[in-house]
């Protein structure tokens, strides 16, 4: 089974030196989301100080294979305005 490394970034980089043997790339994706969710769960309001949290997955050769990212901000993403009529700029 291939070995994947799950590095994390929230202001600081934390390198995963140990890695984990997983079935395939989909299992690595699943693990990446789990790691992101688990760690984010306890960040609380402090998440807004860094604003972003990423899990970057590399393979045994050090190549990035997948990444997942969560972001905190005080503004809505642009797609929100398109989907929500109340937020659209009013026509005069």
């Amino acid at each position: 089974m291939p070995r994947y490394y799950f590095h994390t970034e929230n202001g600081d980089w934390i390198r995963d030196e140990q890695g984990e043997e997983l079935r395939d790339l989909d299992a690595a994706r699943e693990e990446a989301v789990t790691v992101l969710g688990e760690i984010l769960r306890y960040r609380g309001a402090a998440f807004w100080t860094t604003g972003a949290f990423s899990v970057i997955v590399t393979d045994a050769e050090g190549q990035v294979v997948v990444a997942v990212k969560a972001a905190a901000s005080d503004t809505a993403p642009e797609t929100w305005a398109v989907a929500n009529p109340d937020e659209r700029p009013r026509a005069r």
């Binding site: 799950f6 994390t8 934390i14 995963d16 140990q18 984990e20 693990e31 789990t34 790691v35 688990e38 760690i39 769960r41 306890y42």
Partner: protein, 242 residues
Amino acid sequence: MTAKITTLVEKLSLRDTVSPREVDALQDVLGPPKTIRAGTDIVREHTHPQHSTLLISGFSARYTTLRDGGRQITEINISGDFIDLHSLLMKQMDHGVVALTDCAVAFAPHSKLIELTERHAHLARLLWLDTIIDAAIHRQWLAAMGRRSGLGHLAHLVCELYLRLKAAGQADDLAFDLPLTQTVLGDALGLSTVHVSRLITELRGEGVVQWSGGRVEILDWHRLAEIAEFDPTYLRLQTEPV
């Protein structure tokens, strides 16, 4: 007293006096020591054991597996624990027990255990207490799993294992051997190994523990217990007659 029951008697004696007659009775129900290799099941889920197993040395874990291969460890057992005493009355195992390290065990046939409970009512109550404490440990794990922060959860496990190992005479002053992989710790905490690794780094970074090569040294017990919100009541470590 033979070496195989030393840790069990030490643990029971902490809760109430164990008479020499009771020590002999415990000795008599147990068969010769047997070695179980790490990674092997000591008791299989759904089987009907005809004996209960005493863990003489090593670490084992009660666990439940899910269809996708996910494993949840529901208790870590240590030297002196009767790992499936409840099979005496439950009959069929609702979970498995796996050796986490090489383990030495001894079997106590159920027929002999029944006889022991009939002849030694006080000793039977002490063993009953032991299974009640197992249930108390499960309650604390459940609360930790659902509500504690990752760091609090890990700290809670360290506090618990230290006090339990100490009760069985298996820990030094604020230090103990914990030859468990981060994968095993992850399965016990319900967390990914990556997260466990970060949490250990965090505990180390705060100067609360030193943790390397399967040995844990607690540098600041007060702070560790504070992070864990640790209340040892559930381990029932005081002497009170049963």
